[in-house]
Amino acid sequence: MFTKRRSLLRDAWLLIGRLGPTYIRHARSVKSVRTMAECGGGDSSTSSHTMDKSITLPPDEIFRNLENAKRFAIDIGGSLTKLAYYSTVQHKVAKVRSFEHHTEDAASDKLYEISVQEEVTARLHFIKFENAYIETCLDFIKDHLVNTETKVIKATGGGAHKFKELIERKLGLKVDKEDEMTCLIKGCNFVLRNIPHEVFVYAKHADSEFRFQTTHPDIFPYLLVNIGSGVSIVKVESEDKFERIGGSSIGGGTFWGLGALLTKTKRFDELLQLASRGQHTNVDMLVKDIYGGSYGSLGLTGDLIASSFGKSATADKEFSKEDMAKSLLHMISNDIGQLACLYAKLHNLSRVYFGGFFIRGHPVTMHTITYSINFFTKGEVQALFLRHEGYLGAIGAFLKGAEEDNPNQYSWGENYAGSSGLMSVSPDMNPLQRARSGTFDMLEMDRLERQLVNLPLLQDSSSYIPDTVDLTEDALAREYWLDCFEEALDGVVKRAIGSQPDIPEVTERAEKFRQKYRNKLQTLRHQPFAYGSLTVRSLLDTREHCLNEFNFPDPYLKIKEKENDMALKYYLKVVKSLEELGWEQRQLALVRGVLAGNVFDWGAKAVSDVLESDPEFGFEEAKRQLEERPWLVDSYDQWLQRLKQGPPHKCALFFVDNSGMDIILGVMPFVRELLSRGTEVVLASNSGPALNDVTNGELQILIERIAAMDPVIQAGLMDDRLTLVQSGSSSPCLDLSRLDKVLAMVVRERQTDLIVIEGMGRAIHTNYYATLNCESLKMAVIKNSWLADRLGGKLFSVVFKYEVPAGKLSQNSSALTPS
């Protein structure tokens, strides 16, 4: 039976999801949006070009949730408009509730009551489109805005005054202008604080052009160099304290204006295209043109530009448009880079972000600016760019208007399902293609129910990277995982349909989900950097977001219930057999129990068949299948030594994984042993569903049941030595830098000195290299043959990694390096 399980278990790992939003769409929106495209085609007075009239935009993807939209803000730039609004999203959420004790009949039948409830969450929508569409977009909004209490629209950007009258007339809202720079800074602070992979450095010739940076928990101080028509250099010291410390008139407008004069090319994009094909050395005077070589005593190399346009000081020579555009690009980028460095040095700042239309999505300018910064600071300062740079003004204007809602009090998360992601606009792409791909760009941010903070036990939160493998940089791994997720898609769709047997339109919704996630995977194949570093975690989270989008709340809910129910029946038996073992034998058996339980990722069909017929047999079988010691990574001896010789831990924080066998027969006996030793235990489980992971709601009921059978657990609860907290996450993986604030507080109060992280998602795909400043135990069974291969092991290899922070106890560190 277990011979078949290789591929099945892989599927198991990848399968399933949950939740979903509104899927009510407006019939008339189809028509409206088509008109929008036609309108864009007819308008030739703008900087845009003729649009293909056949373009039909997916109507249900733009201006979503307008029905209950409020607090509009708009940022109108030279060519693009960014619109922002706030909406509430209703989605179905599966809730579990313990039966009252007197309803005996029901209790005997089912473990807990499942109800699907409507939950309302807040969402921020940001849409970017060409100014040519503005009138049609306003009409569309007007048509769909149902009884909003909104009276004003916050506006910013250079074009705001130009369209003021139009906006007021169309929407009947009063335009309230906000200072551009203030909005920009507010927006910048917001994305830096809420989007983990917001910041990147650009490396043209590296395997992955975009290298995402861990945002330091303290985002201040920083320098923002905004390159619009001119350049503004702003020093930001805190949320409300910033100062324009300088600027320059040589900016994007200079490139565009001077470029148009020199090359007779009108469009900014086309000028960049010209530049990317040119040779600046034909126009510029280089050091070697003056010296014949380098200027050694000053360390100036021969290729350095001594005088921009120095060779064009002649009436009798023709220069190509491409060469002149390139020379101009270098001149302006170098100049801005130099000034930025001088300001950074004067104010002693090392974080310098670049934005503005000159930079926006243009690899050519990101490259030249990066080059310039490297040159002038000799690598001491890195040029940093922002993934959502184009939205900063709109976000800031929105936040100005929403101050009474205190959006900065909450944590927000990027909704991958509704966000377009970062586009790399290749200069080789023709303008029509470019315009199409960038016609409507979207960002959605969901308000998280819980405020998220760093785990206080992280050794260095500024350098912590949750993910073990960066698929953006590892092309082989990327290809494997993208294929893997694509292959598993059929199964996920089937599971989603199966989870809602009596609900109408389920097949259509599941198909929409399939379409959406497949598109995401396609995008990620071409642009792995679209949502920050691509990781197994981000692929899993994106799938969860997409399932959410189409209203599949917790597809595993019933399966989890069934398995929890069965596992409970064997709990006492497992505990009893463990009790019968001697102390040392029992310690190993407990660990093996956790590992065996972890084999059971539900959805693994081979396993589930056994479970349904004879769960006890399945658990025993899994134990037998476990790799024999020494494991792939094995520091069990050190762990045992620690238990034998050291004092009991004060408090253990346990990040749990799957429901059923895993939590009940694997984790709980282990927890029981810790409690018996006098160690307090904090069980951290997901706030929302992900795959078959046990949620906080489910775990509360399970613990209640176990306590009713087991006096040790009962006593633990009574004495407050066993505590349940939620992680704040709905991911099968774990980001220790974004955890529930309450969890962080409990961890601190209890003086936690041991962290246990269980399962592949939390201990292998993420956190494998996380360094903590207390003892930690990472346990997982590798249930994916490709990964096992890569780690130098076999399927069902065991990772048991016990670590003690340097200086606390000496031990052999076990390294897991991909071979």
């Binding site: 001119g230 008139s249 200079t254 204006g257 003056i290 005593s297 005088s307 346009f309 120095g310 009436a315």
Partner: protein, 367 residues
Amino acid sequence: MSIKNASFPWFGMDIGGTLVKLVYFEPRDITAEEEQEEVENLKSIRRYLTSNVAYGKTGIRDVHLELKELTLCGRTGNLHFIRFPTHDLPAFLQMGRNKHFSSLHTTLCATGGGAYKFESDFRTMADLQLHKLDELDCLIRGVLYIDSVVSSGPSECYYFENPTDPDRCVQRPYTLENPYPLLLVNIGSGVSIMAVYSENNYKRVTGTSLGGGTFLGLCCLLTGCSTFEDAIEMASKGESTRVDKLVRDIYGGDYERFGLPGWAVASSFGNMISKEKRESVSKEDLARATLVTITNNIGSITRMCALNEKIERVVFVGNFLRVNTLSMKLLSYAMDYWSKGQLKALFLRHEGYFGAVGALLELLHPS
């Protein structure tokens, strides 16, 4: 004469990216005895240089800069300042060959990048061995020397009084008695910025490729002109505000939130993104805007360097400033306005010749 001087002729040469600068010391105290001994070639060179003010099509002697009755190494004479475009260097070498310059067995001290680039040409075309000197050493030595020897006539160093008030802005002499520390900004084809703490203690702080060469290069492309003089002449007749986008063009007035006055340039050439405006500007406007853009940029980089180096006096030199009062006033204005009067912009009459002077001094007093 106790010291054995270098034999005549005394030249100092600075071969830049655009211009060759040549200083020539014409001894006026030649004794009859000396004159008898003097070889014909030497006489011929002296006669040629001192009796003309233009050489070939492009060589020019800046008569107004000539320093008369100068005593140098015990000899008295006149110091002449001559320039010609670097691309005419072959013609110059041909002339040297025709006049048998090499027979004089003189050492030719040269600085600037061309001293390196054309070293072999000097050897093969004119049979001359160059003594190559560092550009910045020469520049600083030359500045300090000229400032110290000019005592009569117009003051070498000057500044603009009331730079922020066009009606009251006047040129005034300045005494560089105690010059250190100073920021020395040399605007040739490109720009070098040096912090000078004493005659022998200085460093190159930074530089920019947006210099005189950029001004002329862009003007040639934009207006079809071909000489620096034409470009400056056009610029003086143009109006840059038609080309540039000003703060008031965007904000209707001052951008008070950030203390930016409405007249400040927000985007150089920013108006040129519009087709109508491109069609309505004149070549003169474009030349003016180019001049203003390059000058202001040099001003702002200089100002940042002055702040980083904590230096309050800036001396601007280099041939970009030749016949270019417009730029000098702009630099004076920019230094004064943006530093709220903290920074002073100073200029020197011999603008572009200091490197060549430094090279000549090296011939006479090897350091």
